[in-house]
């Protein structure tokens, strides 16, 4: 019974960290630019497809180090795309109504789906975990897939790095100051435009990293951009939009609620995530934490 309970909790954490990996870039861009980037899922998908291609090119077995290297390369490649998107799209969205941002970023999502379909085709593909993460660990009665533990570790690592960057480094503090008051920051000599670009590039890099790390977690198709994005939006809304710590806490909370709900009320699979989001927003419309943190 205890083993079952722990397994459900760990499965909830796997879901939570997978969604946090996707949501981290989304909430970072919103926190700094106040743009809700609908195309984010599309770039997670591109990261996953790039990882798929890289793993195909590496004939033979792929080890954990190579897999991490591939994920890092996916992050760099998608960050480059983010730089271009910033110049072509995001720069033009400053000071315009939110509805334009939604339409523009949705258009970018459609473009990313079309691009994936053109390059990789409409069929499903799959990626398998690297050597060393394909099996499972046995702790008494508890059965833990290695890759699932890896996803938890990756989510935690990304959170710690992001949190350290935003709160412990000069560049992170400058970024927060720009998010809070860009006019005052510019008066103080901060290159606000460069900070905005940095935030977009970092957000897209996180999307690419999430795609690369999560490629073995689910099937790949040109529609996969939407597979995490609803949960990611739920997590950043519950966490407090723009707040990385809030997103991390919300992902864990929603992941555990969804996992236990799914197991103990199996007649209604998948519904507990939405119920939890609705209830939390009802009582804390500003989210668990608010402001950029």
């Amino acid at each position: 019974m205890l083993a079952d309970f722990l397994l459900i909790a760990i499965n909830g954490l796997v879901w939570a960290m997978a969604v946090f990996l996707v949501a981290s870039g989304l909430t970072l861009i919103f926190g700094i630019l106040h743009i809700l980037n609908f195309s984010h899922g599309g770039f997670v998908m591109i990261g996953a497809y790039l990882a798929f291609t890289a793993m195909q090119l590496l004939t033979g077995s792929v080890g954990i180090a190579a897999f991490l290297g591939i994920a890092a390369l996916c992050a760099v490649a998608v960050a480059g795309m983010g730089f271009v998107i910033d110049r072509v799209v995001f720069k033009r969205l400053k000071g315009v109504d939110d509805s334009y941002s939604l339409i523009a970023t949705y258009a970018v999502l459609l473009l990313s789906e079309g691009a994936v379909k053109s390059v990789w085709g409409p069929n499903f593909e799959s990626v398998y975990p690297p050597e060393g993460l394909g099996g499972a660990l046995f702790l008494g009665d508890l059965f833990l897939p290695s890759y699932a533990l890896f996803v938890i570790g990756a989510g935690l690592a990304v959170f710690l790095v992001l949190d350290w960057w935003l709160h412990r480094t000069a560049s992170g503090k400058i970024m927060k100051s720009v998010a809070l008051d860009p006019w005052m920051a510019s008066i103080l000599g901060i290159n606000v435009n460069a900070i905005f670009t940095t935030a977009v590039v970092a957000g897209f890099a996180l999307a690419g990293l999430a795609g690369g790390l999560l490629a073995p977690n689910q099937s790949l198709s040109p529609m996969m951009g939407g597979s995490y994005i609803i949960q990611a939006f739920g997590v950043i809304i519950v966490g407090g939009i723009g707040n990385v710590r809030g997103a991390f806490l919300a992902a864990i909370l929603l992941g555990l609620i969804d996992a236990f709900g799914t197991v103990f009320v199996p007649q209604f699979p998948g519904i507990f995530f939405f119920i939890a989001v609705a209830v939390i927003i009802l009582f804390r419309p500003q989210g668990l934490l608010s402001g950029i943190r």
């Binding site: 069929n123 897939p145 977690n217 099937s219 529609m223 998948g270």
Partner: protein
């Protein structure tokens, strides 16, 4: 009353000649104009990879018929619209095709799209011949005379799968299931369970113990909790009707748990070769239900012809059954047109009822009462392999659909 004098006779003759000059070419054109068929299928969106081969099959059939001189001396024109796999877009596409003169609609991958289009058929006086949509409601609760299904349904297929398991694995009597929480998922499970309860006592002489199915979220990205529930389930044999990307995600996530070592046999409702092509050498060993498998019908001229053509066009060695079903839908309409060439809904409905016609799986007959085709049910066993495809078909079985089909009850639900 018109007087019969020379002047009036000349007037009538003149009028007749003029009428003939104007009217006859129109009549002649109507007699030689192509029959229009309208294909509504998913050509974009998540079901695109199912809709494309369906379209290819329909195009092959039209090309073959036209090359042989058409039907009643008239060619077939195939008009195509994208349903995007969505009921709203499918209905708009159907109305457009009907507006362009298509009485004969065909295609549709999704049951939701088929149910939506089925609702407008009577008011538009058009027909729909679905080539994949499996919902039992289409030929039962929501039946209307303008709807026809050219392929099998869950009652036929899942009961055939249960029959096959009773024959091959009579000692495996504990069964469980992972099914998506929607109408298709529940109807596949109800049918499979009914088949286990029917055929295990009859064939294996044993009473199966069947767990409640584990209902899974549709379109999910994480199935680990469902898999954990399945691992705790007493079922040894397992039935799956998760589909496409959901099935692949679930199979991927289930492997590290040793699911496929502890649960066997696995019976998959309908994933054709979709999962195997994606997973390749990681494909778990399972029996899969299909509309058509080219290897099972070697020697059938249509089978051999469409397989060779598709292989040449796409390089895909294991095509999905949607190819043959698109072809079969056109063949059914062609058979009806040969019986009654008027091409109207009023003429086609009785012509289709009870019609037998040739397809890639042999002769099919459309049952007159509920418009459900009686066709063979195909199952093949797939597993990973060290070859260029990464998988192989190690066995296949063709089960006569007439043995497993439900009694016709149009307008009423299936009686289990």
């Amino acid at each position: 009353m018109v007087q019969t004098n020379r002047r009036n006779v000349m007037k009538m003759l003149g009028a007749s000649v003029a009428a003939g000059a104007l009217g006859l070419p129109m009549y002649a054109r109507a007699q030689s104009a192509p029959y229009k068929m309208g294909m509504v299928t998913a050509l974009s969106g998540p079901s695109e990879m199912l809709g494309r081969p369906m379209l290819a099959g329909a195009e092959y059939a039209v090309a073959e018929i036209n090359a042989a001189g058409g039907i009643n001396g008239r060619q077939i024109e195939l008009l195509v619209r994208d349903s995007k796999g969505r009921p709203d877009a499918g209905t708009v596409a159907a109305r457009e095709l009907i507006g362009e003169g298509c009485v004969m609609l065909l295609g549709t991958v999704s049951s939701a799209v088929a149910l939506a289009i089925s609702g407008i058929l009577q008011q538009e006086n058009a027909l729909l011949m679905t080539a994949a949509a499996h919902s039992l409601r289409l030929t039962h609760e929501d039946f209307n005379r303008h709807y026809f299904r050219v392929t099998d349904n869950p009652y036929m297929r899942q009961r055939a799968q249960a029959k096959l398991m009773a024959e091959l694995n009579g000692d495996v009597t504990a069964w469980g299931g992972l099914v998506p929480d929607h109408e298709y998922g529940r109807s596949t499970w109800d049918s499979f369970k009914h088949g286990l309860e029917t055929y295990y006592p009859e064939i294996a002489g044993k009473t199966p113990s069947i767990s409640d199915p584990i209902l899974c979220q549709y379109g999910g990205s994480d199935y680990r909790n469902y898999i954990a529930s399945a691992m705790r389930d007493p079922g040894v044999g397992f039935f799956n009707s998760l589909y496409g990307g959901d099935a692949i995600t679930m199979f991927q996530q289930a492997k590290p748990y040793g699911f496929f070592q502890r649960k066997a046999p696995i019976v998959d409702s309908a994933n054709e070769f979709i999962a195997a092509r994606a997973m390749k050498a990681e494909m778990p060993d399972m029996w899969i239900g299909s509309h058509w498998y080219h290897g099972a019908f070697k020697g059938n001229e249509i089978n051999d012809r469409i397989y060779a053509k598709y292989l040449e066009q796409t390089g895909i060695r294991f095509p999905d059954g949607f190819l043959s079903e698109g072809h079969a839908a056109v063949m059914a309409y062609a058979g009806a047109l040969a019986k009654d060439g008027a091409g109207t809904a009023e003429a086609l409905i009785p012509a289709l009822e009870g019609l037998s016609f040739e397809t890639a799986t042999g002769t099919r007959t459309i049952r007159a009462e509920d418009h459900q085709a009686i066709k063979p049910v195909i199952n093949y066993r797939v597993r990973s392999a060290q070859n260029e495809d990464g998988f192989e078909v190690v066995d296949f079985r063709v089960i006569d659909g007439a043995e497993t089909i439900e009694p016709a009850s149009p307008g009423a639900p299936v009686a289990w």
